[in-house]
Symmetry: C2
Subunit: 323 residues, 2 copies
């Protein structure tokens, strides 16, 4: 088996073209966002849409539930699709929905998406509440059933508390270090150390707003940042979570950002997707990253770990129920 290639966050406007690019890019598994602000019943519409994709493009994609499904997909030259939620809206106020979502294939759930949720504080809130009472019980339930706590869009206080109170390692599936590019969504050295030292995973983002220089960020700059992170945190807890939003129309940004919580006119920044860097416009871009990591001096073992081996190990340890 060649080293697996895993992207631990995409939210594209899914199409045959994109699934073919996943295959052509040798991407063995992708964690895809299936809901933002949808409630549980609304989320089922998105699952039904994915079921149609799995049926129609069965030669290209297959739903993934376990690490073994990644290895099977690689052998079949298909891409395993793992579900994730970017807000906890689909579980509503009902802890019983955690296990039901897990049964449906949800393997990652963000406790917050920018805003305060029932569970924790978001990365754009002026005051981060930390993990709430309901949040602590949901983390315990996620630990029990095998759903990964994802703090990519949470505040620092909530993130540190989630790392502390989760019995199983958590993830920040798509973000970069603040020491490379300072923005609300990128992560402090304190968080990344606590995350990686507790067995958690950081997935490096390729979304322009998270990149030094934005859309004009060079692949060498990005890869040097990865190499610097390896020096700081070791190689074992790092991977890719590209945040690729390929082919999405701009109205999707409004939904992601505003949901139903804000009167649309009050939006405070242009609701448009930024241009991707030229070396990562789609799933064919992973070769550029692998080549770039080699150029900045990482060895084959390190590159294989970052391009997917670490995520595969994490999937193996994270997705089954606690015994």
């Amino acid at each position: 088996m060649r080293a697996p290639r895993i992207d631990c966050l995409q939210y594209a406007n899914w199409s045959e073209k994109i699934f073919r690019q996943m295959n052509a890019g040798a991407v063995d598994a992708v964690h895809v966002t299936i809901a933002y602000h949808e409630n549980f019943r609304e989320m089922t519409h998105n699952i039904a849409a994915w079921n149609r994709h799995f049926r129609r493009y069965r030669d290209l994609i297959v739903q993934g539930f376990s690490a073994a499904d990644v290895e099977a997909a690689q052998q079949q030259k298909r891409t395993a699709i793992f579900y994730g939620l970017q807000t906890p809206a689909p579980i509503e106020d009902d802890i019983g929905l955690v296990e039901i979502c897990h049964r449906l294939g949800v393997r990652f759930m963000q406790l917050t998406y920018n805003n305060q949720s029932l569970l924790a504080g978001g990365c754009y809130e002026p005051d981060d509440s930390g993990v709430s009472r309901f949040g602590r019980d949901v983390i315990a339930e996620m630990n029990r059933v095998g759903m990964v706590v994802d703090m990519s869009h949470s505040g620092e206080r909530s993130t540190l508390q989630a790392i502390e109170c989760s019995e199983r390692p958590i993830a920040i599936t798509h973000a970069n270090p603040k020491w490379w590019h300072d923005c609300a969504r990128n992560q402090t050295d304190t968080v990344i150390r606590a995350l990686t030292e507790s067995g958690g995973m950081l997935g490096f983002s390729l979304y322009a707003h998270h990149l030094n220089g934005g859309s004009h960020c060079g692949v060498d700059d990005f890869c040097q940042m990865v190499a610097d992170a390896v020096s700081r945190y070791g190689c074992e807890q790092l991977g890719i979570g590209s945040d690729l939003c390929q082919d999405q129309p701009d109205e999707i940004v409004k939904w992601m950002r505003n949901g139903r919580w804000r009167v649309e006119e009050e939006d405070d920044a242009p609701a448009v997707f930024p241009q991707q860097p030229s070396w990562f416009e789609d799933n064919l871009g992973f070769d550029n990253i692998a080549a770039g990591l080699k150029k900045v001096g990482l060895n084959e073992t390190e590159i294989a770990a970052i391009m997917g081996g670490n995520w595969l190990r994490f999937y193996r340890d994270s997705f089954a129920p606690q015994v």
Copy 2:
């Protein structure tokens, strides 16, 4: 492996006592009703309640998804619980929910419950519409994913049409022949012949309203009816679906019968559960049936087939997706 014992319909007021009786009665699998008039989101509450049962009583019960789970449960001295829906209300008007319900473990769905539904005509309707346009598409989808069409509470015309248009054998999980006891819920010889000749299964009911003599029906009378059915239809397509509603309070009959479709005051018969016959009050009663079947002259092979072997074969053929 001893011959499996399977009850293909119960709707009890679930408790540790009942699960212990299932074990003591050597019942290896039970098809349990998880919803009547609940919509999809309401059904998830019932699934969450079952998840709590599976967690709390893990030494007694386990969720079943496939025939192999029945065999595993028997080896572990547990009872495998398979979900079923008595009305199609949980799939609402959304065919995408069929596959999602299957993923959650639903293995049987009645197209109607007494009344006309979006899918077909019910056994109490003055005019049976037959299978509707939506009904035909839902049957095809159930065939595809591996969910059994159950026509226990449907009209004769709808039932014959469902047998005709389903690519996979269907079931009448809990009813008796009209030639033994004539009531709206029992089945005509025409239906039972069409059912069994097409590979479908009939589960004999122990609900007093379906029994000759009601609560006073004798076990010999019941078992002679089974033996007569074996003479008419052969032994291979018959099993038990007791319709046991143990320990349910009477208000549950109102919910089953009236749901939200009728002003309660208009109910036209006493909403009470009838007394079970003395020889089948709980899961310990299966021994009485097995002994009774021997007394009326069935051989060991026939008895083993009717007490569970036939259902196990049917489960093996019915629950996996079409390839």
